[in-house]
Symmetry: C2
Subunit: 241 residues, 2 copies
């Protein structure tokens, strides 16, 4: 198969739990072995990745754009999945609260904007630069941040970053023909979440395989839009908002 | 007058054109000579400022929170104005565009999030920490960013930062009793704007004195909410959305 007829996928946040779950699904949507990972912690042990490039918040294209052009070499990038991100609390400092509360609020908000929103901004730039009109960009939102009231209380930084992703998606939809899918999960069943919340009922958390399969179906149907993640009786699926 | 009966104002972005216009109005709302400036470029030549502290995106309270506590010494901060910010373009990189377009997009988006949104996040933390229920936080939005369609085209980073400020305002309104005012101007008549756009009709741009007077009236009426800035026949006023 010549390069120009090959299709490629990109996973931004490829070494995370969700990135690893999306990898095989994304591989199956592109030609075989044509998956590029981007990550702040590049790891090459993920099945199906051709190459893992460093994800930088800065504009260092020599390490990202040039290699992507070389790898794809006239082929088409048809799917970009953004699943880089993390969670941190850090409420608005209440009246009379100690200095440490202000520190924690600023630190966590800056960290959420960098980890979640900047990586989505990076992915949006890749999408606008590379995706054809038939392409898909998948962004990761959060069900708790679909309304202001459910995220302002103890995680304003997380809320700002995830609501920023929704605004970013709407700006892209206004400008480009490719489809923008935003998946808004609740708690995902990952090792990190099990370790952090050992007393919870893991059965109610989202299965990553179900999320990845849901994304595959949306891409195969050629759809875009916002989706919540539903989990019941051990099954996880995406539901259009 | 004892410290505990004194009232104070804070201007975040005090050395900018808008900060200088807000200073006398804010001074008149607080006790005399009780205005604290915060700025990335601290300047002490602004009329009526008691003290100018460095504005940092990081959580260095030793240089901000401790001095604020010392200056206010039991008094009440009743008004906080956020007017730090700037404008930069940098569109989503179009299909096939050169690397430089991707660089410029990332650089300008990061800069807008840092300059506009982080400074607003900082101001929001000061507001939640210090303002009494009767207090006011004034944030600076942008009329162009009230809808996605008018800012996605050539300034997605500016749009993200200003829409983030609207989200931040709504989160604060959901949590606290103090009033949050967001002023959404178009082009403001500043020296920098005249230098950057010499061919424009300056008569149509907003007069900063009119904006500051508009904010004074809103604060005196004890209102909150979102306001556009209107300019006609040399007069500038705020209009509730």
């Amino acid at each position: 198969m010549s390069s120009s007829s090959r299709t490629f996928g990109i996973i931004v946040g490829s070494s995370g739990a969700l990135g690893r779950a999306y990898a095989p699904v994304l591989s199956s949507l592109a030609s075989s072995s044509s998956l590029i990972g981007l990550d702040i912690n590049p790891s090459s042990d993920i099945l199906g990745l051709t190459k893992v490039l460093p994800l930088s918040g800065t504009a260092d294209d020599a390490v990202v754009i040039d290699p992507i052009n070389t790898i794809t070499d006239g082929g088409v990038i048809n799917t970009i999945v953004h699943c880089a991100g993390s969670w941190a609390g850090g409420p608005f400092p209440p009246p009379g609260s100690p200095n440490s509360t202000f520190s924690s609020y600023l630190t966590s908000t800056n960290s959420m904007l960098t980890t979640n929103l900047h990586s989505a901004v990076f992915s949006a730039g890749l999408a606008s630069r590379y995706l054809p009109p038939s392409g898909h960009l998948i962004l990761t939102g959060a069900s708790a941040c679909l309304s202001v009231s459910s995220c302002s209380n103890f995680m304003p930084g997380y809320g700002l970053s995830k609501m920023g992703i929704t605004n970013l998606a709407n700006m892209l939809r206004n400008e480009f023909d490719f489809k923008v899918v935003v998946v808004h999960p609740g708690t995902i069943d990952t090792k990190a979440n099990r370790d952090a919340m050992p007393g919870e009922d893991f059965e109610k958390w989202h299965d990553m395989g179900g999320m990845a399969e849901g994304v595959r179906e949306i891409v195969e149907r050629g759809e875009g839009g916002d989706y919540t993640v539903e989990t019941e009786g051990g099954r996880t699926w995406l539901e259009k908002i």
